[in-house]
Amino acid sequence: MQERSKADLLLELADDELFLGWRNSEWTGIAPFLEEDVAFSSIAQNEIGHARALYELAARELDTTADALAFDRQPEEYRCAPLVELRRLEWARTIARHWLYETADEIRLAALKASDDPEIAGIASKIDREETYHRLHAEMWVERLLVSEDGRARLNEAVEELWPYALGVLDDELRPELRSRIEGRLGRSLPEVEPVPRGRHEAELAELWQEMTVVRRSAPTGAQW
């Protein structure tokens, strides 16, 4: 893995899971059918649970709190990959993002499980186990889309569009593995493109940040319900 401090690594992972969790939750109530409402809501809840645990570890390193890390930073300070920031997409692109992210995340977690730091290796093993179900869900959809010509065309188009973003989730040395898995499943090659780097942000991030932090900003000392 590329050199970075433990706190930076934890923040990258946490920010990815937090923003993807929010984006996935945008399907609650309006997914194409009820099972997917439930699936995307449950996946979102679990991703946000991962973000919380990761922020708690990062907070110990930085002598702050998980809430402060999740909600008190400015939009440009978040370390997430732009893939997770993109606003609710149409269904084929949502499935493509889900599949690309979960595949990239599996590759990243495999590397982190081998970390010398027992805290990093431990939390990566825990997250990886739970993510199995997210991957099975993504795989089920990929299988479903690939059986029809229309589905195959839509998935391919969506993957191609999101490909530079997907590469941006991972460090350089892990990207060939992502390429080989996605190309292998689609049975085609994907273009050589410049990855959209982590730390650069889409305009959608600021909008989402406004929504995500509104309660925190209106009641800085803690909201009473």
């Binding site: 099972e35 439930v38 699936a39 809501s41 449950s42 996946i43 809840q45 679990n46 991703e47 946000i48 649970g49 991962h50 919380r52 645990a53 708690e56 570890l57 805290e119 290796a121 431990g122 939390i123 093993s125 825990k126 997250i127 990886d128 186990r129 739970e130 199995t132 179900y133 099975l136 869900h137 795989e139 089920m140």
Partner: protein, 161 residues
Amino acid sequence: MVTAEEIWAALAEIPDPEIPAISLVDLGVVKSVEVDGRRVRIEFTPTFMGCPALERMRVEMTAAVEELGAEAEIEVVLDDSWSSERISAEGREKLRTAGFAPPAPRTTEGVTLVQLERGPFRCPYCGSTDTRLENIFGPTPCRSIRYCSACRQPFEQFKTL
């Protein structure tokens, strides 16, 4: 002075906030209990990290320890030491009686789609294995939804983790 046995017994009385038929001890989320004078240190392993009941469990464990006149220190263990294999035999039976199919055993290859779609999952109501996967996800992160073709009932299946 409180003993570890008394603490374990008190924790075994706390129902899981989401599935009250089973206790926290049956669920296997209490990894260890250490007593040092008035201080009680509990290692707590979450089931799924997205579980909305985690905070509730901490609060209830703290209250149970305080009721015995001791001070609780709950340490959340963030690794993969909890697995569905940690649910006790008694806990599995309680789940079944309450209408939740207990988790299938964890195999070395982990969970696969083929296993979820074709595996012999038993209906907790009628015992038939003629059941099918309806949704990998359910009302909480730890459950899936299946349908029993024999008694025509949907049921909740505890996930294998």
